[in-house]
Every structure is written in structure tokens, then in C-alpha cells.
Symmetry: C2
Subunit: 236 residues, 2 copies
Amino acid sequence: MRVEIWSDIACPWCYIGKARFEKGLAAFAHRDEIEVVHRSFELDPHLAKGDTAPVIDMVAKKYGRTLDEARAMEEHVASNARAEGLAYRTEGRDHGNTFDIHRLLHLARASGRQDELLDLAYRANFADERSVFDPEVLVGLAVEAGLDADEARAVLTDDSAYADEVRADEREAAALGANAVPFFVIDRRYGVSGGQPAEVFTQALEQAWQGRTLVPVGTTDAAACDTDGACEVPQA
Amino acid sequence: MRVEIWSDIACPWCYIGKARFEKGLAAFAHRDEIEVVHRSFELDPHLAKGDTAPVIDMVAKKYGRTLDEARAMEEHVASNARAEGLAYRTEGRDHGNTFDIHRLLHLARASGRQDELLDLAYRANFADERSVFDPEVLVGLAVEAGLDADEARAVLTDDSAYADEVRADEREAAALGANAVPFFVIDRRYGVSGGQPAEVFTQALEQAWQGRTLVPVGTTDAAACDTDGACEVPQA
């Protein structure tokens, strides 16, 4: 089965939700049969590149709260993260446009390093003092994930590289009815919205596993070749 | 939506079925939203590498027919191929183990050239006088598909390269109940078996398109971040 996860680096519930999903997956008997694909979703696609602001300021403005109230809200998120064993800094983190990170995640997907890069980007953004809005930090993360520095830099300096792939992911999210992340889709059949408890993911995987019978379309006797090498040839 | 197509180069109905599927896809309004992935399926996984035999001899033996009868059967397949505009040679073609071709198709997939390589391999096998059981022919096809010759050769000389991927595809086919190819699966929800008429594929795509609503699992109010950048923080 295939699980597609729409998320954004700038989304703390995606960071937390990924850890919960992975716990849920670890408890699923057929976990080795699961392919995970990460899909792009920008929380703030309209922010200009390089237009960053401290998260606390952004939260205060967005919710019409004082800075202290915004800090308390961030502390609440942080406590959820820490409960999952994830480090989380509530100060010194910026919010901004994540288009370039998504393009880089598509490069990483092409060489099977997407999950590694996503984990490193989450850690840089939420746990460490590294800005994921700095291109050279992104190149460093790409290298840590096993990618080639020059290749990563080439993608970052060419705004069109993997841009179509990011947009296609976002169109697909919209087509599937998702306007918030994290958003988990199992075999395009079951959807899980938000950073649900690990048990919900295990349950969704089990439900999908039991229900994965195909609906046949067309006749059942069309010409085909079977496993002993014989090809059914009607009227031969 | 995603269409997965299990097939084998040695399977004439896969060659024909691919052309019919592509006609059916061309008539589907949302064809630009379709991702096609080719999956491995070996008709004769137990044949030793290099153990090839003329197709006509194989067909005669398999069905207990004379060589002339086997030729007539091949002519019947050929007439179906030609009706789809596909060249088809009924003589001089070998049957054999296709494991290496499948491994190479997985290499091609990693760089987005899988469909190109599959078309070239079908043409070599069914239309041209080129043996797909000759490693140097395979390297030539890989280069024509836009792959690097050394990379292709490295995969062909290392029997373990992409072997797990081929086996995983085959396990998935078995899990989905497929014992013959071509086998088409739309979003792991709808299945089309065999080289059906183009209209069946269009119909299956339309049916899948209309039915692609997700079954939600879990609560609907779990913490998430939405498109205006706001993160719902329960009890904040």
C-alpha cells in the first residue's frame, strides 16, 4: 500500500504528525509493505521568497494576541512535540515561503532520499538554530541527506526546477479536498487529517489493508499472458 | 490519479494492451492528471538467465501444437497488434527470462525514463530484429531512452541491482490477485485485466475519477495548519 503525506516544513503539526504516523506505522503488522511518499503543500504560498518573520510575531498577528500569548501558544505546541520525543524551540524560529524546500524535496525523492531530507529539514527548523530559509543551510541539509551539493544548489538557483512537481502536488491536495496539513492518504482511498494520535494511523492502515480489493472494470476474459508463460489467444 | 501497469516485455498482449490503454487515456478528459507507473511481472521467472528459445517453438510446445499451428496463433496476435498500428514480427523472436529488463526498467524509472525504455524494449522485441536477451542490446536501448550507458551496464552486471524492486512489484501483483498480465490498477481501487479495448480503459478512468472521494478515518478536528498559515491549537 502507499501512503501519501501532504505537509509543509513550516507546519508544527506536520512535524508532530509525522512522528505520530511513524509510531502508528511501527505498530502495523504489514509495515514492510508500505511505501511512503511526501507531497508538497505550502502554508503561505503568497509570501515572497526571502520575506521571513519570527514565528512568534506571525502567530501574534495572525490570532490578534500579545507576544506573551503567542509564546504560550507556541509552548502548547512544543509540549505536544516533546511528548513525542521531538525537540522544539519556541524562540528564534522564522516563518516564510517554503517553495524552495519543496522543490528540493522533489529532487531528493528522485534519488530515494526524500524522507531523510524531510526529517533533517524539520529538525533544522523546529529543533536547531538553523534557518531553512537560508539557501546554504538547505544545501547543507541536502548533503547530509546524501544528495550532491552542486545538484542541490542548481535546483535552488533555478526557480523552475521541480516547480511543476510542487504545483501538481498542491493541485492534487485540492482535488482530494485538503486545505490543511498534515494530510495522510492511503492508496487514494482513506484520508487522515491532522496530527492524529498514533493509534488512529494504525487503525487507518488496518482498515485500508482489509479493504484493498479491486473493483474490476471490463470483461474478465480479455487476452492476457499468465505466469506459466501461456498467452490466452481467443479464437486462435 | 495513478495507474499502475503490471506487464512483461515477453507478453504480446502487454505490448498491444499498452497501445490500447494509451488510446483510452487519450480519450479521457483528465488525462493530464494521470501518472503512469510500470510494474514488473515475469511470465517465466524460472527460466535460467540466457536460456532462450524461439517463440514459435515455445508456443508449439506449450499448447501441444504443430509449428504451423503455432505460427497461425502468432499471426492472430500479430493481426491484433497491427490493428493498433504496431509492427509485429512472427518469426525470429526469442522467449526468455526478463528479470534483467525489469531491473533496467526500475533504473529508468528513477530518472523518469521508464515509459520511454519500455516502448523501446517492446519495439525491439516485437517489431525489430533486436534481441532483448542480449545485454548489449539492452544497454543500447537504455541509451536511446536517455540513460547513461555505464550506469545501465553496471545494473546489468550486478544481479542484485533493483532485484528487490522487481520482487516487490511481483509480490504486490500477487497481493492484488493478478496472475496474468497486462494488469492495470487505478489508484489501487479499480482493476482492468488483459488487453481490453481502448473504450474500457476510458470507462475505468472515468469511473475512478468520479469515485475518488476519500473515506475519512479519525476525528475531523485534529490539530492542523491551514492555507492561510494558521495552525489550529486546541486549548491554547
